[in-house]
Amino acid sequence: MAHARPEQKNEPWKDPGATPYVRIDKVTKKFGEFVAVDDVTLHIYRGEIFCLLGGSGCGKTTLLRMMAGFETPTAGTISLDGVDITAMPPYERPVNMMFQSYALFPHMTVEQNVAFGLRQDRVAKSEIRDRVAEMLKLVHMDAFAKRKPHQLSGGQRQRVALARSLVKRPKLLLLDEPLAALDKKLREHTQFELINIQETLGVTFVVVTHDQEEAMTLATRIGVMNHGEIVQTGTPTEIYEYPGSRFVADFIGSVNLFEGRLIEDEPDYVRVRSDELGGVFHVGHGVSAAPDATVWVALRPEKIQISRERPDGDGDNRVQGTVAEIAYRGDQSVYLVRLANGRQVRVTQPNIIRQGSLRISWDDAVWLGWDSASPVVVTR
């Protein structure tokens, strides 16, 4: 979950006076009886990389296609830079899209593909030539200008598609699963390059992806979608560290979820008794829920300490178990620890030292412990 982008000082979404660049207002899209996008309201600010994240069929692509103009909302409005574009046809919108399949024109060379958009606008020939050359240089495809798409590799096609969608200097660039077709190494490399290009050109990006790691790396903010609704919007850190629901906690990264009952409710901490855990969570943040309500505690695997020794302190935030499975991943190890009640807990630990014999092994009796700042209580 590497963070490529330094935490931005500039966070317009926190400023109530800031004007959103893209304003999606109560947009609904129905296909027959099926509701693909359900009353979505979303504000995206200038210069953002906003990621729409969700599983297949969650409506993220439909929402993107409505921004591009390929679908018309059943209800609601979309405006860009203060202009209502809800009913504007795609060929008039100052919006460009990079398609998942890249959709390069197979009968045109790389150069002609990139020039296509400019030629529609009747830009002067010499200017087209310069801008195309400049764009191809930016994506390192200048040496392939005369090739046809079928003579390029997947990664090269992706670059051409990016160049083609950026050359018109759109107000908004929509990217539909931009990196899905690339292999893992290339994908990582390209993620950083996308961010660099976005920062160079200052174009606002909206990215649709099902890959949470990709969203975490690229995004200034993420909108998690489920069943046509946006269930949570926030920075990658907020989404990961403070999931608002079981769905978000479970969808982003891996998580241990424990059902429990609120036994102590204070403004700065709560205690949750969980039969699933066989113990009590002491969570260092307040919760707005009725006393004795059923809640869920989300605990990330990397925030749990595993040890053969009993941790110090009182009886909260600890549990005893037996190591059932170990997956050694080189940089880290994943332990599945079976608790007394049979429930398995996932724990990951970085392999900081070459422990050898000190390493925890199968069937070892271990203690799991965590800081009270680590778990998060979700009420839905």
Binding site: Y91, E92, F99, F105
Partner: protein, 319 residues
Amino acid sequence: MRLAELRAWIRALGTWRWASHRLRGWRQGGRTAVMGVPTLWLLLFFLVPFIIVFKISVSDARLGMPPYEPLFTWAQAQVMQLKLNFANYAFLFEDALYRNAYLNSVVTAGISTLICLLIGYPMAYGIARSKPAWRNLLLLLVMLPFWTSFLLRVYAWIGLLRTDGVINKALMFLGLDEPLVMLQTNFAVYLGIVYSYLPFMILPLYTAIERLDLTLLEAAADLGCKPTKAFLRITVPLTKGGIIAGCMLVFIPAVGEFVIPALLGGPDSLMIGRVLWEEFFNNRDWPVASAVAIAMLLLLVIPIMIFQRAQGARAGAHR
């Protein structure tokens, strides 16, 4: 160890090599058999008749059976004489009748092909863009006329187009004073050819249009291209293969068409197929008729071959 030794021994004997060679030979034999059947078919039913017709075309006409002179004659006891007569070909070029017939055929076929393309493209487009459940039904409707004999369908047009035919009767009923003369005009010939060959245009066009990735049109729209322009810049170039195939399938048989001009056309709709028929059956001049046929074939085949060569070279340069 034993096994390895044994294997080495067998190999040393060359048995293995012999057997594998044999096997490879068999495999190649299979391929030859598969390729051989169509090759033989073409040889027997295309090349051999072509040679026979060519042979007739360079001989002299005579009265008798067969109505042409043999190519080889025994001049003396042991000397065989070969007589080639290219006068028939020279005759084709000298006589304006043949030149006009060829020209008229090509023009008629060309215009018919263009009309077929103009009607067929929207139809094929409509079918390819219709709901998948509808597509097969619509395609079936396109092919439905094939269930009736071609000849019968052309005859049916006579009934429709005649001065006292169905169309004229209907028009007169609606208030037309004089019947329209439609039969035995060039209009009827075009109508007949377009009607008969339209399915051959639609089917390859449909295949090409159906294969077209719709995302490309979305991409074009996204880049600021209006639908009409996107059609010309994206759809047409990417369905070029279907357009060429459809045009060839209509143009080639239309050039040599005999039935339609003979039944629907007037005395002035002179097409090479009709000339050929008259030369063969009315004049009984087999050599000239054969020369007409060979000349027509070359006239059609050579441009197509040049065209395909050029296409192949361009495709090769792309790869």
